[in-house]
């Protein structure tokens, strides 16, 4: 049996859960799939996932699960897993999963295979494909030491619309054990820091810079290229960490997700945290000195070379007409 742990906040399903359901259906090879919904009050989330082609939806509600803490979620998930005895436990590789899944694995003393982008084979013999070395290599890994194995699926790696729907699965409430006294984290309300003055999601074209730009003095080159292309300037995380461009111009898992008509990646190697924020762009151009950089895997057009020569040449070309 495969247990998918859905992610919800305030009764709203995280869409990445559908990607994980699609992965579970691909992995199943005849094994039944159950989806568990955890939370304080989970509202209509169970009904929503019950439209998937799965055997059953389990609802595990407990006051100690609201607000989210890793201690409570690890306890609740452990309780669920010990009563359901799945072969695999699948979750979307969100920041919340990254916070509590290792704790769950440590307590169960069971394998956790993170950030999975593909599955080869089905059932108990499956191998899981995950990036290593910053995406330069892809590893096929197998869990060791017997079931269950916990697997997290990379955001965007499986298609949500590929999840098979099957009418309505039975929804069942289950009891779980969580000791509120054993929850050590006391969270405050989430907040947003940047005022999001620029909504990069609305930009038709984006010129994004990465480490290849080398220093803050070179940022105007990217701005000039953006102006010539009638584009907004954005950046990968290290550029914003260094304060060379403001945080609200960051693209990636910790910044904004964009899908413009044109995305020009200037000196961006393409760490997965960046790719998840832009790989849906219609046309992607990568300019990088390293021919092996992972950014070329998602690019439509690639130029291998020195961006300090190529970007000015593009500006000159655009100014001609």
């Amino acid at each position: 049996m495969i247990l998918v742990i859905a992610e919800q906040r305030d009764g709203k399903l995280n869409r990445a859960t559908w990607e994980t359901i699609a992965a579970a259906q691909q992995l199943a090879g005849g094994m039944p799939i159950k989806v568990a919904v955890l939370g304080g009050a989970t509202g209509a989330v169970a009904q929503e996932v019950a439209s998937a082609a799965v055997a059953e939806v389990l609802v595990a509600e407990h006051a100690a699960l609201e607000p989210y803490t890793p201690d409570a979620y690890a306890s609740a998930s452990r309780s669920l897993i010990e009563s359901a005895s799945p072969t695999y436990v699948l979750l979307p590789h969100t920041y919340q999963t990254r916070d509590f899944a290792p704790l769950l694995a440590a307590r169960l003393r069971k394998p956790l295979i993170t950030d999975v982008t593909a599955i080869s084979g089905t059932g108990a013999d499956a191998a899981f494909v995950r990036p290593m070395f910053q995406g330069k290599l892809a590893a096929h890994v197998k869990p060791a030491g017997g079931p269950p194995a916990i697997v997290t699926t990379q955001i965007g790696a499986f298609r949500a619309d590929a999840a098979q729907k099957g009418g309505s699965a039975a929804v069942r409430k289950v009891d779980i054990q969580v000791d509120p006294g054993a929850v050590r984290q006391k969270p405050e309300a989430p907040f947003r820091e940047a005022k999001q003055a620029v909504d990069l999601g609305q930009a038709e074209r984006i010129v994004a810079v990465g480490r290849g730009i080398k220093s803050q003095e070179n940022i105007p080159l990217a701005e000039k290229l953006a102006k010539a292309m009638d584009a907004e300037v954005a950046a990968s995380r290290p550029i914003c960490d260094n304060g060379w461009l403001p945080m609200e111009r960051q693209i990636g898992s910790s910044g904004q997700t964009v899908a413009p008509k044109l995305y020009v990646a200037l000196g961006i190697s393409g760490a997965i945290q960046h790719l998840v924020g832009m790989k849906g762009s219609r046309t992607i151009v990568a300019i990088n000195k390293d021919a092996e950089a992972p950014i070329f895997e998602v690019a439509d057009y690639g130029i291998v070379g020195d961006l300090f020569e190529i970007a000015p040449a593009i500006i000159t070309e655009l100014e001609k007409s």
């Binding site: 920041y95 060791a144 969270p187 960490d241 998602v298």
Partner: protein, 260 residues
């Protein structure tokens, strides 16, 4: 405050991958190494906390003899001493083995705070810190962008720690926790310092305690194959001089992609 920082040595960003003969790991003789970037931020945060609250910073690393280089570098940046769990097998070990190895060497030190990077730039499991916290009996919080210690309450079982956790899409959250605790640090939490000549000289005299790898640690996963990833898109590579490539790119963006 007694602070531990866990540091991993990983291949440099410029390293081009080459595989071993069985295609299950990299050819280690070709690799040049550096300090895992998120761990460098964890070290910097530890040094800043020591400057503010006093105490000591202890660097902990599990790996083959080669990791001495990054241990010395951390000592040169200002850490006080180090613990090195040394074994050749640790270079390719998974998160469970590394966490168990570190836990065994660290547990009698009774650290108040343990910092790690949020994930490594090599295997990138993103688990070692949290598993280590569980083995040391500490609460954990991950992807941390700010650390505040309330020194007035000391290190008893009170809400002595307040940390800013990064959520997705530009959201954050403050979380209070008792000490001792373990935090995994996000890159960019601070501005890194570099070693001074004086620091490099001083590091030579600092203690590195060697610890043995406990027997019988079992990996939780096995790499059955390693390969250069297959391309999801057919990328059209544009060659030629910068001027020619620029001209061709602009033409294709206008005529084929209609993106300009």
């Amino acid at each position: 405050m007694k602070i531990a920082v866990c540091i991993k040595q990983v291949p440099t960003r410029e390293w081009q991958p080459r595989l071993n003969d069985s295609k299950t790991w990299i050819r280690e003789q070709d690799v040049s190494y550096e300090m895992n970037e998120p761990d460098a931020y964890a070290l910097e945060e530890a040094l800043r906390l020591r400057e503010k609250h006093g105490g000591e910073v202890v660097v902990c690393s599990a790996g083959p003899a080669r990791v001495q280089t990054v241990i010395r570098e951390a000592l040169a940046r200002g850490a006080d001493r180090a613990i090195h769990v040394e074994h050749d097998s640790l270079g390719a070990a998974d998160a469970f083995v590394i966490a168990e190895a570190l836990a065994a060497a660290m547990k009698d030190e009774n650290f108040d705070l343990v910092l790690t990077g949020l994930q490594s730039d090599d295997q990138g499991h993103g688990q070692t810190g949290v598993i280590l916290a569980e083995r040391l009996g500490m609460p954990s919080s991950t992807i941390i962008m700010d650390v505040q210690v309330d020194s007035s309450t000391g290190s008893g079982q009170v809400a002595a720690l307040r940390v800013k956790r990064e959520l997705e899409g530009g959201w954050f959250q403050w979380i209070a926790m008792p000490l001792p605790a373990l935090l995994t640090i996000q890159s960019g939490i601070n501005q890194l310092r570099y070693a001074t000549l004086k620091g490099i000289m001083a590091a030579k005299k600092k203690e590195i305690r060697k610890a043995a790898l406990p027997d019988g640690l079992q990996p939780a996963q096995q790499i059955v194959g390693l390969a250069v990833p297959t391309r999801s898109k057919q990328t059209q590579m544009i060659n030629g001089s910068p001027a020619d490539a620029a001209k061709e790119l602009v033409r294709r963006l206008r005529e084929e992609a209609r993106a300009l």
